[in-house]
């Protein structure tokens, strides 16, 4: 099976500032990869690019098949007057689009997804009344409904309680078991070491990419930190050259 996500010398920029430089490689079908690196290393930008939300400045990025994206928590308006069930039903968007009414089976699937993340009975609750962890569970239920072969998670366990993190991690492993391709931006290196077989260490340039044990070495992490600290001077020059 060919890789669902393939990158050839991809460079992503914010305005004139480089976010990700010269990244080549592929995320194999069915792989479970953690993307780690210092703040501002371009991790979120890379996910957004794979989801088709950020054009590549240079290089070639191909992503096949339907992709489900869990955006960073800050991107959603948690005070918006919408019920939990409606949020989960948004997962049907790729099939139902903007206009079609949902079929009973589709509403049923959304109810099942809510139950699967432990929020049975929350159907009519407005999302504004949920805790951070509960809201993240709702977004995972939406991912369940999306049922996509490729799943991108941007800091999925940030600021959620330990119990929720464990439950959601179990879902991630379930998806992995189902053969889906999963990329997750993460900060907790212990979690990455124990739960994620593959790791991409990113510091604007790729530092290391492969089996987690060979990537998360002390030498690589030091290199990543040095690169991200050294970068600010170089950024200006690179922007001018372009």
């Amino acid at each position: 099976m060919s890789a669902p996500i393939f990158l050839a010398d991809v460079t992503l920029t914010h305005g004139r500032h480089p976010a990700v430089h010269h990244l080549s490689g592929e995320f194999a079908a069915g792989s479970l990869t953690a993307i780690v690196g210092p703040n501002g290393a371009g991790k979120s930008t890379l996910l957004r690019a794979i989801a088709g939300l950020h054009p590549a400045h240079e290089g070639r990025l191909s992503a096949r098949g339907r992709i489900a994206l869990l955006p960073q928590a800050a991107a959603t308006d948690r005070q918006f007057p919408i019920s939990c069930l409606d949020v989960v039903q948004l997962g049907h968007w790729s099939r139902a689009g903007a206009f079609r009414a949902l079929r009973p089976a589709e509403t049923g699937a959304a109810r099942d997804a809510l139950a699967a993340v432990g929020l049975e009975g929350f159907e009519r609750r407005p999302v504004g009344s949920l805790s951070v962890g509960q809201f993240q569970r709702v977004l995972f239920a939406r991912l369940l409904v999306q049922d996509a072969p490729v799943i991108l998670l941007d800091e999925p366990f940030n600021a959620v309680d330990a119990r929720t993190a464990a439950d959601l991690l179990a879902l991630v492993h379930r998806w992995h078991g189902e053969g889906r391709t999963i990329l997750a931006v993460l900060h907790d290196l212990d979690l990455v070491r124990t739960q994620f077989p593959e790791t991409l260490l990113l510091a604007r340039e790729p530092v290391a990419w492969g089996p987690t044990g060979t990537v998360l070495t002390a030498a690589n992490r030091l290199k990543a930190r040095m690169m991200s600290e050294a970068w600010d001077d170089a950024a200006e020059a690179c922007g001018r050259a372009a």
Partner: protein, 297 residues
């Protein structure tokens, strides 16, 4: 005998102005049409944190209206065409300016709206007296002639149909823009449709309410409805109801107390907003006070 006299009094107060005067009936129908279409737009503006944008658009149309007025006098068609063009320029221009100058859309909007208001008043003053100027700024029930009425009814009908189509994309775009983009919901295109509807409604409203208060029936009921509904649909229904009530009560107030129409309608809506802030079941001050001991316990 007393009940009969009472009922006659109620009739005089509430119905006879509309029975007796055709211009009041036309104003009533026009305002009711506005009340059906504008408040749901206001709800979306509020949810998108764009409450001030409507105000800016309402002032932005003034130079266009003034240009139409200079060409053809108080003609609904000329003023509407001018206003529509000016409104669309401001709607597109504000977004473009803020993108080009790096965010700060509110600053660009504030600048645009001051310039537009000053330009509009200056243009009108070159040719018109204070009567026409106050008519354009504050509206007048006498201004609701047949063409204006057709404009209001047409805009209301178009808005309701368009909103029915745009509802889901608009809601998704404000709730979760990243998801909307990833799902290919074309938020940008729907946003332009939405801004176009806002311009049309402001244009229709200025005939009765004047440019300074044209957004009164759009924003005040919407902001008040936040305290009555827990869903976008619930808020929209509440906003429409508040707007309908404000229109009828404002017109009656304006007739009986000889007040300018636009301010009277907007003041009633403002009163209902105060009531909503105090007594509304969602985040109302009273509801909060009553709930506090429960939460503490």
């Amino acid at each position: 005998m007393r009940p009969r006299r009472l009922s006659a009094g109620v009739f005089d107060l509430l119905f006879s102005p509309f029975v007796e005067f055709g211009f009041l009936r036309r104003a009533l129908v026009g305002c009711l049409a506005l009340s059906l279409a504008a408040p749901p737009l206001g709800v979306f503006l509020m949810l998108r944190r764009m409450s001030l944008t409507a105000d800016v658009l309402a002032h932005g149309i003034l130079p266009g209206i003034a240009a139409g007025f200079l060409v053809a006098g108080l003609s609904v068609t000329a003023m509407s065409v001018g206003g529509l063009l000016a409104g669309l320029v401001v709607a597109v221009g504000a977004g473009a300016i803020s993108r080009a100058t790096g965010g700060r859309e509110d600053a660009a909007l504030a600048a645009l709206y001051l310039v537009a208001l000053a330009l509009g008043v200056t243009l009108i003053s070159t040719r018109a007296g204070s009567v026409e100027l106050s008519h354009l700024l504050f509206g007048s029930v006498l201004g609701v002639d047949d063409p204006a009425l057709f404009l209001m009814a047409g805009v209301a009908s178009l808005t309701l149909v368009a909103l029915a189509f745009a509802w889901r994309p608009l809601a998704l775009e404000c709730f979760d823009p990243s998801f909307a983009a990833a799902a290919g919901a074309r938020g940008g295109a729907w946003h332009m449709v939405f801004l176009g509807l806002v311009v049309l409604n402001v244009l229709a409203a200025f005939q009765a309410l004047g440019t300074l208060m044209a957004v009164g029936l759009m924003m005040l009921p919407a902001v008040a409805a936040r305290h009555w509904g827990r869903s976008v649909g619930g808020m929209a229904y509440a906003a429409v109801f508040i707007a309908l009530l404000s229109s009828v009560a404002g017109l009656l107030l304006s007739y009986h107390l000889d007040l300018p129409t636009g301010p009277a309608i907007v003041l009633v809506a403002g009163g209902l907003w105060v009531v909503s802030v105090l007594a509304g079941p969602v985040d109302g001050l009273l509801a909060r006070l009553l709930h506090r001991p429960h939460l503490a316990g």
